[in-house]
Subunit: 462 residues, 4 copies
Amino acid sequence: MTGSSTRLWGGRFTSPTAADMAAFNDSFRFDERLADFDIRGSMAWSRALAQAGLIDETECNTLLQGLQQIASEFEAEIFGIHVGDEDIHTAVERRLTELVGAVAGKLHTGRSRNDQVATSFRLFCLDSSHQLQQRLRELQRALLAQAHHHIHTLMPGYTHLQRAQPMTFGYWCLAYIEMFDRDYTRLEQAAQHMRVLPLGSGALTGNSLNIDRQALADELGFDAISTNALDAVSDRDFVAELLFVAALTGTHLSRMAEDLILYSSAEFGFVELADAYSTGSSLMPQKKNPDSMELLRGKSGRLMGNLVAILTVLKGLPLAYNKDLQEDKEPLFDSIDTLDLGLHIAAAVVISMQMNPERMAAALEDSMFATDLADVLVRQGMPFREAHHKVGQLVRHALHSQVSLRALPITDYQSIHPGFDETIYALFDAHQSVAQKNSIGGCSPERVNEQIARWEATLAWC
Amino acid sequence: MTGSSTRLWGGRFTSPTAADMAAFNDSFRFDERLADFDIRGSMAWSRALAQAGLIDETECNTLLQGLQQIASEFEAEIFGIHVGDEDIHTAVERRLTELVGAVAGKLHTGRSRNDQVATSFRLFCLDSSHQLQQRLRELQRALLAQAHHHIHTLMPGYTHLQRAQPMTFGYWCLAYIEMFDRDYTRLEQAAQHMRVLPLGSGALTGNSLNIDRQALADELGFDAISTNALDAVSDRDFVAELLFVAALTGTHLSRMAEDLILYSSAEFGFVELADAYSTGSSLMPQKKNPDSMELLRGKSGRLMGNLVAILTVLKGLPLAYNKDLQEDKEPLFDSIDTLDLGLHIAAAVVISMQMNPERMAAALEDSMFATDLADVLVRQGMPFREAHHKVGQLVRHALHSQVSLRALPITDYQSIHPGFDETIYALFDAHQSVAQKNSIGGCSPERVNEQIARWEATLAWC
Amino acid sequence: MTGSSTRLWGGRFTSPTAADMAAFNDSFRFDERLADFDIRGSMAWSRALAQAGLIDETECNTLLQGLQQIASEFEAEIFGIHVGDEDIHTAVERRLTELVGAVAGKLHTGRSRNDQVATSFRLFCLDSSHQLQQRLRELQRALLAQAHHHIHTLMPGYTHLQRAQPMTFGYWCLAYIEMFDRDYTRLEQAAQHMRVLPLGSGALTGNSLNIDRQALADELGFDAISTNALDAVSDRDFVAELLFVAALTGTHLSRMAEDLILYSSAEFGFVELADAYSTGSSLMPQKKNPDSMELLRGKSGRLMGNLVAILTVLKGLPLAYNKDLQEDKEPLFDSIDTLDLGLHIAAAVVISMQMNPERMAAALEDSMFATDLADVLVRQGMPFREAHHKVGQLVRHALHSQVSLRALPITDYQSIHPGFDETIYALFDAHQSVAQKNSIGGCSPERVNEQIARWEATLAWC
Amino acid sequence: MTGSSTRLWGGRFTSPTAADMAAFNDSFRFDERLADFDIRGSMAWSRALAQAGLIDETECNTLLQGLQQIASEFEAEIFGIHVGDEDIHTAVERRLTELVGAVAGKLHTGRSRNDQVATSFRLFCLDSSHQLQQRLRELQRALLAQAHHHIHTLMPGYTHLQRAQPMTFGYWCLAYIEMFDRDYTRLEQAAQHMRVLPLGSGALTGNSLNIDRQALADELGFDAISTNALDAVSDRDFVAELLFVAALTGTHLSRMAEDLILYSSAEFGFVELADAYSTGSSLMPQKKNPDSMELLRGKSGRLMGNLVAILTVLKGLPLAYNKDLQEDKEPLFDSIDTLDLGLHIAAAVVISMQMNPERMAAALEDSMFATDLADVLVRQGMPFREAHHKVGQLVRHALHSQVSLRALPITDYQSIHPGFDETIYALFDAHQSVAQKNSIGGCSPERVNEQIARWEATLAWC
């Protein structure tokens, strides 16, 4: 039995918390991670209490010194947990009492765990968002370095996993830089919602203590102050948003992983991952597997699961705070950690992988120039749709003859349409085909170079 | 058997599409809904082709007139669908050919369905986001009207569904206005990502036709132009974002619904929904059920399901476009429609419901002033934690004696702590307790009035 | 305004249902689909009322004839919907009144829509489960036919998408037959839970009419009778189970689709889907895309989304029936329809696809016999782990020398371990390697033949 | 850098695994939990190798003794983890080598981690399923004990959270016993699928060693043997099934939690949870919150999230084993642990809670007998629908008059219908109304007693 005497709220109760209930209820084992942010919040609150005249200067300093000491203990990993440390807030207040005596009991004046934890958790999420943004930049930089090397490295572009049109590997890299940049922006947008201070909301209706909430916000780095306490203590939108951005980033990683798993198969043979990021088989001596990318692809599952978890928790909850909300933390911690390491691994894999330009070039085939053939007819005034159909017939003819388009004699072309002449054989040149895709967003080296320059500027100063 | 001859791509094929495959593959039955946006995109593309010299002025006008005619047919709901109308794009091109002849075949020059559908769908999503924002404002206005009437209507505030502290119903209304305002902001943020033009990306690598994409963006109302075609044709982040905002809005609606279902129970009795938004029982003649709110609570399920659907679709897809992406539309359409009607119903319910101030006031009880009692001791210098414990003992004593706190004689108070005197009986005044919660975000009428004024200003001009 | 006078429950109400509320609340547009099952339930209920003496024989016959007439109208698709037809139950009762007059008002005696819809929906789900089982058998038979043809068709087996060990395409087919058989079994298990009759539960506490529920169960084909009405009217476990089986079946389809999409890429080239189940590109004339399989892979998304939807709906609902439960139908209908067509398409694709045994055989490579090489040393007494390491070194040596294992001279083998001799070159024989995998569950033709025989027996009589 | 030399598969590799990759890849930190099952599998495999003549008796005994020693070390929690312990299998083999030398390297003959982990994980899941079944029985017994005490304790039954008809609290208890019994049955069904042995499948195509798989199955307690290795090593249906049953059980717990949270509100006041399973507020001294039930309700979120995680992992995976599948364990462990403690807490809360029969009885109101009033007219031959409408008018009249139905004079009744007489006042008797609900599944004490007897028999022998 955990004595309720060590809990913050025991006065009204006749029986202590059951041991199994403590195991079910207590959150210190995971919310310990909020220690730094909780203590920062308490230090700011101490100063706010002093400013409002609710404690004197000496008391304030005593509290601040005690809190500083506790922060040091957490940093040095020597903070001793006690039976009855229900959560990080209780543990800190308990330790503070040990360190500074009864004055510790003044810290919680006008504050509830509801606004306290909302504040600490927002600070944590802000910190995590910033950390993930750095990780996204790390991955973008790795992709940019590969893009640099492969501006002219030809490879098939695929749609429906069928060879479609020639492009370059540098262009492929830029596609993923774009995706991860949207994730970066979404983190920034999510952070805007995090930067609203709930502290001072009391349990649900605000406080009556003339606390200067603007000063609190300034000290803790919030941009705004919540304007309705009932909402502020039960709002977990910022958690759901962060989990959504994490889940969507996870789908991007899963797409890149899929591409690289395909490309490192023997059938594609476009890339070889570094040994350092591959593993072998316990049975088959020849195997070298792209485990890093498979795990990355798989981890999209937990990122989606964590998002579903928080949305389910929120569904149907009445106002205001309900204990269900304690279930907000573990999914978030898991998603942050998964993404933090996952993005780093992705960057490490990308920077260390070896492309195989010969295999990539060899995968180009004549049929990929079919659209260029159609354009010949279009330039002669034929509607594109008809030209498309004519070239489709050529492709069918070549397939049935089991030869490539280039190997068909000009007479075959002309039997489909007399407008074809020998100049069409010059079309089967991937470098030229790529260079012509010169619209904004196209795969031509000229456009790719422009984009590389843009990204270098963007990624340089972060 | 649907003849492939009516399809856009049949030249290369020897057998037509199977009838069951057509049923599985064809999307016209649902993407017909994009007709307006698809036609707008095609009109812009016609002008771009003309500007680039790929069609002449006459051809351009012919295409524009034909497209205008088709738009009219859709508006008048007389557009006739044909076997072989694989999707909205195919249907429009087929009809255009009927109307203007072979020149219709020039429209698709340099364009693929990949960039075409991405453009149409973004336009649709933008339109839907704007529509949902109006619905959110409608609901916020309904809540604001109720807030106005109930600035002084006392009721218990709840945490853990236990009576916690006195507040007002006006304050409750403001909490939901806050939530829905975050949803409004999220829609705005999501719309920023939608306003990037993919048109001109071709199938996956851009185009070589000197199309002026900036002019396209300007004509169609996009803020920016995609800078990597490979990404642009396979990016569905904007769908996932919109589905996420819809799902999160759904949890907010489910919370409000839960509150109103509770409040309309006989046990609470705080509110009676209008007959027009309630239903009865087929068996029990006395029943009046808050079905509107139950449905609203339940519909959070499909909103979450639709989000999971799109994220699952995206998981593990290689670049670039894959047909899996056709599964992006039905979940989105369903979430938009669900939320569009759901938000409107919520507004209609809120504006027409009758509060019962007597029942709300009667639900206040003495123990809700316990924190105020603790503050008496705090003002005498007692640490809050100790004061909390003392008052907890008083509460326990009152419970065991089966009397309310107010009914305990002063001697009982003083036996707990001598600092109590007769003035404490004046604390049991909910209006006064509420008025003292005067910090920013607090429930005092003064603060609530400020917030109402702020929301009036915000909601007035939209 | 929809007049409440046409509703089943209007007596207590002073205002009619609002038109927007009717649009939000009414379910006839989708639960019309339950018509047959609803009418069967009503016919059984009529007989039960007669048996209990609550209506006389004449009245019973009148009701039965009227219901039969309505069933015919639904079958002939001439049932006319009226304003106020809130749901299928209301519509049927309204029409019955038109047909037989006031006696129609006796049908609902002792019955509520709560037990009525639970009954109809269970009957629908049973029917759907049976239908899906037939579809699974159809797909298994298609796979079995391919297995028959390809008992000896060599191909690489993959793990981590890396070539691992030789196997046959027949063996691949059997793997999927196994998966879909588990789905078949799960449908059977789910159906067991569906076959519990809720009819007779009244609104929530049972009925007092001496209805013979056993006779109802017998007539309607239920195996058991619910034993707690409170549970029976609010139990939707059977819906969640069916949606789960559908979602898991969807992941199996997505895996098979992924394999076939990979195998139909130019890089693998193992299979060509029939033209009838492929589509082309609107832009690129050469493209032939495996759209059928991509859609199948993508539809796993909506199947998962529908499961999440129902679980979210159920979360946190108090007893007993709540209107939220009306949200159980659309996700289920969608999953049933998706799977019904999806399984059929999968079967059609499998039966019509053309394998390319030459490409499959060509994909075998020497390193896939590395485990067989290790077994040579194991048979000489070397611990497997050491043998694995030795052969791993051989593989590395061959990779660096850019030759295949078979091309390494025997001296290279012997420098790794003297136990190797010339007989090892005979190991590089895929047919032999496959034949040796002769344990139960192994890929040898002997075992595959056994399994084919077993499946033929299983699939023959269904 | 973790040296690859300690890994099972290093021979082919030139560079060791990167430290960050080891952190990303290695699973020992969580799959250590499979130690017992892994060792059991290895002991069975040792005997199978000996039986097949692949190792001699002495070697077999050496392996068995070494494995036994390792099992003891895990049990005593003294097993020392080393750098390079990639997973539980590697760690055990590494330790075995330390203990018995090179013969340890023979253990992995013909076995891969693919079939090994599938076997261990199935054994774990079977064990967990059995454990959860015991927990369900514990909860059912707690509910049964309460049912016993409250066969005659009247309370309102609710639909739409509106008072509907009288019932008893014993009947409420039985509803939940039913729900949890379905979960029990589902676990049994899921376990049937788990009891299929994958061991002997090798990496993906079976083995060539004449291993007696039936003997393995018998020793390890499996009912059947997998018949296709390709499927067997990549099948995680049993994980998805278990996670689904957990998620559905979670929704049942969330429903019971919701009921008890409602019932412990001041407005309902039907129940008081034990102090031992409640907690207080850090700010408000009077609060006693049903945290145990709120957490239980909230934990449905993570249970659903874990199900989504595994289904997402499986989506789109090609055959056979892919490393993504390593993501199967943490969600499963989390769901098992969540449910194991959650069910126990639910039982402890149910058994210790105090019902308040006075408050429950007081919540009955006259309108709940409206259906009984309608039955009076029905017995006089009036169609139920008309009777329903008549009584609905009476209810409306009473509401407008602000009196209860019982307080309306008989003349008011007769003005609605002359068939009413003074005997109707006797209907307002909840005990009698409840007793009349005497159909199978009804709430009458007679039926409830029957059900209690049935459950006592069922729950007695488990």
